[in-house]
Symmetry: C2
Subunit: 425 residues, 2 copies
């Protein structure tokens, strides 16, 4: 029976029961964490043998004979540019391989445009006093953090099942001070939504008032499937070629959730104009990133097929966790009509909407019971979820056993908060 | 006999002889490079076994049990902070360990102050339209590159045998738009000069008009001795504690020339106020740098003593090269009175001043004969050496045999350029 259809005495009965359950849970003194998209220990183990790839018996040379141990090759070794190009579906000349973090490359890209002209004839964004950035919501807190750090006013765009609401985007970009948009086009963070063909085509067809409008295309989950179905995503660069909008997209990806989060390889791709501005910064910033680690990755995978085969091992580890989360929700929350969610086909999260106005309470109750969730509101700029309902569940890090316990706690807290809320009215 | 004391016919005889020597050299079709401070193949080999330190049989955990393969620990693993703190003579809490490049950390630091307030109450440097930076000359071209990229007017400060001319520095910092100075305090690039105690004390006592004046203390050659004598350098932080100038110095170092230039570990150190501003940037920029590589370094060296023992191996490889360069100069150029230089006790370069007005010619002649030198003027901002006399010789990369050939070419070119110059008058 839906909570909303219960009368007061039914709700009170629920409340007493849930309160008791909650107090029992607190007695367990749990310490569980579902807050961040962190691979679990098992996932790290499947890349363990990568640590043997480079050792003192092998030569660390590129295919064109350069010593990876020494200085140089600012934009990455050729074989790694090729591998990351294949991951992104672009040509190697469009790729710059960086250090261990695509977040760092995104930060550096925005930082670059803050002080250098982001497009011919345009002022550095630092000079644009009312600079704005579009943020599809719910979205990734670390994206919002970067644009907040650099003083952008962040404007939210609602997500639909096909990606950001493009009607809204097309309206907002009529403002010349709107300089870009954050996108996670495949298995979006946190909803796991893959942008539809129409969405990608509309992105490629945008006519922003700002000549220096950039689409930050964070393809963090490009091959991070949770099912045997590879959900297709149109290639933004190919679409932009058709529309002539070559300066719009800048794509990012990394192996952080393929090999090791702390020691992966990050890369970015863009057409000439953007890459020229970005490389003109990098050439002052560094002599080159860690080429031994690039070589380690290339030799470990061989090619994109090798990488995809590796991803199946991740899927096998993660699938039961995601199934568990979804099943717990279906079983414990759906019957009461207090939750909505998308079942993700890839990525690292399950995004749920609990009863409006209760997300913060749910997170606080969980915390008090020893279960850490991503802060309520974190999926919105300025931590401001106007409906106070979205919660990002990150099921990857805990063991299945711990996850099961944590989800039980979550379900009790979601119900308790909902009942409390209804009783207040 | 000094060239300057020769009469015209003596000079002409020299000219004919040198011209012939030069043409003979060109016939050899050499291809040698003395342009960059790049470790040679032998040097890379002494760190080869570091590649075995981390493999699939070892656990990648920090001393406090955190998995180095996963996300987190933004400012570096504790053991690596300790190691780099010992290298710099500071406490670990003052240290941030970064990626593979201290140049990158320096760039990031200047970039940070471009858009964030560099000191309480001060405007970001982007807003300081006539921003200036002090550049001791001769100096490091990549330092100058960073401040040029960010639009600073670079003001040169002459180097003395004790470091930058502090009378000049003390005068220039009366201008509030002067925001900082580049320093390589030990075995300076390119002269190999170590700042005297008085110089360091005067740095620590500076009273710049700019409240946000920063000393960029690039301790790139902190343990890079070329003799058995460790040339002492006063600790800038200790001196600044005495004067209360805590916000002046920011120190940088790396293992690029200790282990692998492409895959070392970089670090920076500063007192609280600077570190707070810088870490407030890094926390948006990255979740953490490559901790496996930090662990690899810590386990390879054990401690600072282990690192210093390793540096002796570098010294043994490099000393003959530096001796060769100095001996060739003494033998072939000193007798003619056309060269001045410092014999370095550490670092990576021999800085020479050829006859005024001839450096560009010398470099061009060398290039024509197949020997690449650092571009004349590179040791000055905007590539502008007003005397056109300084050349940075980088003897580390070539084999001793190649270096010997290259130095013979250099000596002939230096003499030929000098004689031509004298004949013009």
């Amino acid at each position: 029976m839906l909570y909303e259809e219960m009368n007061k005495s039914e709700l009170l009965a629920q409340y007493e029961d849930l309160k008791k359950q909650y107090n029992d849970i607190k007695e367990l003194k749990l310490s569980l964490n579902m807050s961040r998209g962190v691979p679990c220990a098992e996932q790290l183990e499947i890349s363990r043998s990568m640590l043997d790839i480079i050792n003192s018996d092998v030569e660390c040379v590129t295919i064109d004979g350069q010593d990876c141990r020494n200085y140089g090759i600012m934009d990455g070794i050729p074989s790694c540019k090729k591998l990351m190009a294949d991951v992104m579906g672009v040509t190697p000349d469009m790729v710059m391989v960086g250090g261990n973090s695509s977040l760092n490359m995104m930060f550096d890209t925005i930082a670059c445009f803050m002080t250098a002209s982001p497009s011919e004839g345009c002022a550095p964004w630092f000079e644009v006093k009312n600079r704005k950035f579009l943020c599809p919501v719910p979205g990734y807190d670390r994206h919002f953090g970067i644009t907040e750090y650099f003083g952008f006013e962040m404007i939210t765009v609602p997500m639909t099942e096909n990606g950001p609401d493009m009607d809204v985007v097309e309206e907002l970009i009529k403002d010349e001070s709107v300089k870009g948009i954050w996108c996670v086009p495949k298995y979006s963070n946190p909803q796991g939504i893959t942008y539809s063909d129409e969405t990608v085509k509309r992105f490629a067809s945008l006519k922003p008032a700002a000549k220096d409008f950039k689409i930050m295309w964070d393809n963090a989950y490009v091959i991070h499937d949770l099912t045997d179905e590879e959900v297709p995503l149109l290639n933004i660069f190919e679409e932009c070629k058709k529309t002539g909008n070559l300066d719009l997209p800048i794509e990012f990806c990394s192996t952080s959730k393929i090999t090791f989060p702390g020691s992966g390889v990050a890369a970015m791709a863009a057409f000439d104009n953007n890459m020229k501005i970005i490389k003109n910064k990098y050439k002052y910033q560094t002599i080159g990133f860690d080429k031994i680690n690039m070589l380690r990755h290339v030799r470990f995978f061989g090619d994109l097929d090798g990488m995809k085969a590796h991803m199946k091992k991740h899927k096998d580890i993660l699938k039961p966790r995601f199934d568990l989360v979804v099943n717990k929700i279906k079983e414990n929350l759906t019957p009461y009509g207090i939750i909505s969610y998308e079942e993700p086909k890839g990525g690292y999260f399950v995004s749920v909407d609990v009863m409006e106005g209760t997300a913060k309470k749910v997170v606080a109750l969980c915390k008090e019971a020893g279960v850490i969730l991503t802060g309520a509101g974190a999926t919105y700029p300025y931590m401001n979820d106007p409906k106070n309902s979205n919660i990002r569940i990150a099921p990857t890090a805990p063991s299945v056993e711990d996850l099961s316990k944590a989800m039980d706690v979550f379900c009790v807290c979601a119900k308790l908060s909902a009942v409390e809320k209804l009783l207040e009215v």
